[in-house]
């Protein structure tokens, strides 16, 4: 039973990652080779990912250090809100960034009032700005973890020796933690699609992922799709092996709130904390303000789209947690099976979608496939996160209670029921929340196929923005945020509520 489920999950993942790539490659016409535009796209993809990772990490150091050195009311909330951009639907965040930095946004209004020239949010700077908005908080959380891994006693020892905290403790810690954080962010920016779709474009600001989308949706040029898909996989595998070479914590799983009396404070701490709060808070505030204004006049497309999104998200959640569970139970600690669960990180969601479409196209029209394909791809894309969180939890359970369960003959279903599931409730709830929030906010595969009739809420928002119905988009964005955070809260809380430790 365990083996059957494990094998099926493994085959499904391999089919999703390599099978879809194969399907695209099979149909491709390879005569073209990589053109000039493709090379530009590759260069832009790497460059924006590098800049985004470098800037996120660079700014995260002073902010995280300030947070470690200062106590203030609302610090816990600040740290908790740093987790928000991770599950904030990307199209919503982009809407917020446009409201603040866009052509007639807050910043340009202020600049205009004092006679400064306009800034543009489109192109390289916009893509990088959005990526830093998403990943700076992640980097800060990584670093907070690094700082907390330094025992309090060592700070006291350094102080009593009159040594420098920076050279003795902080710099070595950063050398250890920063490369991992940068690698993870680089990988995330390499595959991000919605940001490039909305803020990029044109020959100078097209990512590989965006080029895949255009080749499929506008030209239906499978040759280019296949070629670019291979390029994307190579890039991702490169970044993934880079990330594997450096130690990585997980910045998503833990709420951190432990501070230390520090003497080596600097007044600039407050500047960094304030700047971080404004940079991350302003777009969120913009979403809330514009959204509340837009709620009065919601376009009729919003509610059916919201319903479709909920169904897609819940199904993808069940699917990805099921896959993760099947792999983990089957692996029994075998690393290669666990690595299998990380494989979707190297894949492009769009290529998976395109490949699945080519397989299934003879069976059904594209419109009918849009939502099922989105669901499957979402489930696959969430799987690495689920594996990352659930695997250590499972190992801990087996280490603590495995022998007792063995000696009581708790096997297969009984073991799952009496040992694994009840003790996994917290990580399961957290993962389910993460999966639901990430897939309800996803704007990826759905953009390949859907018209208005099958649009999910993120796509509906994108379409409203494209037709300059900003009020409607704002209201819909607020609803999407509420759904995404609401689902996360519901599942996460469900896992905690009278869970016995």
């Amino acid at each position: 039973m365990r083996h059957l489920a494990g094998w099926s999950a493994a085959v499904l993942i391999l089919a999703l990652v390599f099978g879809t790539l194969g399907a695209v490659a099979w149909r491709a016409d390879w005569s073209g080779g990589l053109g000039r535009a493709d090379w530009l796209a590759i260069r832009f993809t790497l460059w924006q990912a590098f800049l985004s990772a470098a800037l996120s990490v660079a700014f995260s150091v002073p902010i995280a250090r300030a947070l470690m050195r200062r106590q203030f009311p609302g610090r816990g909330l600040y740290v908790a809100l740093l987790g928000a951009p991770f599950i904030l639907p990307s199209i919503v965040a982009i809407f917020g960034l446009l409201t603040v930095f866009g052509r007639s946004g807050w910043v340009n209004d202020a600049f205009g009032a004092i006679g400064l020239p306009d800034i543009s949010i489109y192109g390289l700077q916009g893509v990088v700005l959005a990526h830093v908005f998403f990943n700076l908080p992640l980097a800060v959380r990584f670093l907070l973890q690094g700082w907390q891994s330094i025992p309090v006693e060592r700070f006291r020892l350094t102080e009593s020796l009159n040594g420098s905290v920076w050279t003795l403790l902080e710099r070595p810690m950063l050398v250890r933690v920063l490369p991992g954080a940068a690698a993870v962010i680089f990988l995330i920016c390499l595959t991000s699609f919605a940001v490039a779709l909305t803020l990029g474009g044109g020959p100078r600001a097209t990512t590989v992922e965006l080029a895949i989308y255009q080749a499929f949706r506008f030209d239906f040029d499978l040759g280019r799709v296949a070629l670019l898909a291979v390029v994307q996989v190579v890039l991702c595998l490169g970044a993934l092996s880079l990330a594997a070479a450096v130690p990585v914590g997980d910045g998503v799983g833990i709420g951190q709130d432990r501070a230390l009396m520090r003497r080596d404070r600097h007044l600039l701490d407050w500047v960094w904390i304030g700047a971080g709060a404004v940079f991350l808070g302003a777009p969120l505030l913009a979403i809330a303000l514009a959204g509340i204004g837009g709620l009065g006049d919601l376009p009729s497309v919003v509610w059916p789209a919201a319903l479709r999104s909920i169904v897609v998200a819940l199904t993808a959640t069940v699917l990805s947690l099921g896959l993760a569970m099947a792999l983990i139970l089957w692996s029994n600690g075998a690393r290669w099976i666990e690595a299998l669960g990380a494989l979707p990180l190297a894949a492009s969601g769009l290529v998976m979608g395109a490949g699945l479409y080519l397989w299934l196209a003879p069976l059904a029209p594209p419109a009918a496939l849009a939502l099922p394909l989105t669901t499957i791809v979402n489930a696959a894309m969430v799987l690495p996160f689920a594996m990352r969180i659930m695997t250590p939890a499972y190992r801990e359970i087996e280490a603590g209670y495995g022998r007792l369960a063995d000696s009581l003959s708790l096997t297969s279903y009984a073991r799952l029921r009496w040992l694994v599931l009840p003790r996994m409730r917290r990580p399961l709830g957290f993962c389910a929340g993460l999966a639901a929030a990430l897939s309800i906010g996803d704007l990826g595969v759905i953009a390949l196929f859907a018209g208005t009739e099958q649009a999910t809420l993120p796509l509906a928002i994108y379409q409203l923005m494209g037709s300059y119905r900003m009020e409607g988009a704002a209201g819909a964005a607020l609803i999407l945020v509420a759904l995404s955070f609401g689902l996360f809260w519901l599942f996460d809380r469900g896992g905690r509520i009278d869970a016995d430790t």
């Binding site: 022998r403 063995d406 000696s407 009496w418 009840p422 869970a499 016995d500």
Partner: protein, 242 residues
């Protein structure tokens, strides 16, 4: 009769050899310095430690069987109860792991809890019990499993002396009632005297065949007296029991 026939364990640098038999129904203490392999010996019998050689119970080989399928029930040093399950459910897992309990089985669980003085604690979680009560609940499960061999790996080492003696008496009572064979790891020669007629000394990579506990402590071989130090456990034990 439990037979360890040419058993050797090799855990990368750690070795243990055992060639011995334990008569059915006997109660045996396992004693020796830390790290000598007392728990490893129990692990071999319980099925958690890979080894060479043959393990027989009533002349049948059992070394191929999975831990749960052996004629063996175990009390570990800790983690003997699932913290997320009620006391009644924890004990009931010793009877049945699949499906609902029959009314008969339900009654057996109640009686087992009664026997260890935990009536009325059925619906509590382990965290709501004291250390001694948790040990008793674990003991109730051990006894309800009704296996012919009971392995105790220092399960009571965290308890105070009075509580520990109480637990040992409960074990002895339960084993007497069912005729079970008992092996118990302990650091305390007093425990060995209280529970066990025979003692296996584990030291120098070897588990020695069981010998009468009283005689062993009366005239300890050099390695054992080094381990025991200057204490005269027999005198102390004589005082407490006399």
């Amino acid at each position: 009769m439990l037979t360890l026939d040419g058993i050797t364990v090799d855990l990368g640098g750690f070795h243990l050899a055992a060639d011995l038999t334990i008569p059915q129904g006997d109660r045996v203490a396992v004693i020796g310095p830390s790290g000598a392999g007392k728990s490893t010996l129990l692990g071999v019998i319980a099925g958690f430690t890979p080894h060479q050689g043959r393990l027989l119970w009533k002349d049948q080989r059992i070394d191929g069987a999975r831990p749960g399928d052996r004629p063996v029930a175990v009390l570990f040093q800790d983690n003997n109860l699932f913290p997320h399950l009620t006391i009644a459910r924890n004990v009931a897992l010793g009877l049945r792991t699949k499906g609902r309990l029959t009314p008969d089985e339900q009654r057996t669980v109640t009686e087992a809890l009664d026997r260890v003085g935990l009536s009325g604690f059925e619906d509590r979680k382990p965290a709501a019990l004291s250390g001694g009560q948790q040990s008793r609940a674990a003991l109730a499960r051990l006894l309800i499993q009704a296996k012919p061999i009971l392995l105790l790996d220092e399960p009571f080492s965290a308890l105070g002396p009075a509580l520990k003696d109480e637990m040992l008496d409960l074990v002895a009572e339960g084993a007497d009632a069912s005729g079970a064979t008992v092996l118990m790891v302990t650091h305390d020669p007093g425990d060995a005297l209280r529970l066990a007629g025979h003692t296996i000394v584990v030291s120098d990579c070897r588990a020695a065949p069981p010998i009468p506990t009283a005689a062993l402590l009366e005239d300890p071989p050099p390695y054992l007296s080094a381990y025991l130090g200057r204490r005269r456990p027999l005198d102390e034990a004589a005082k407490t029991s006399g």
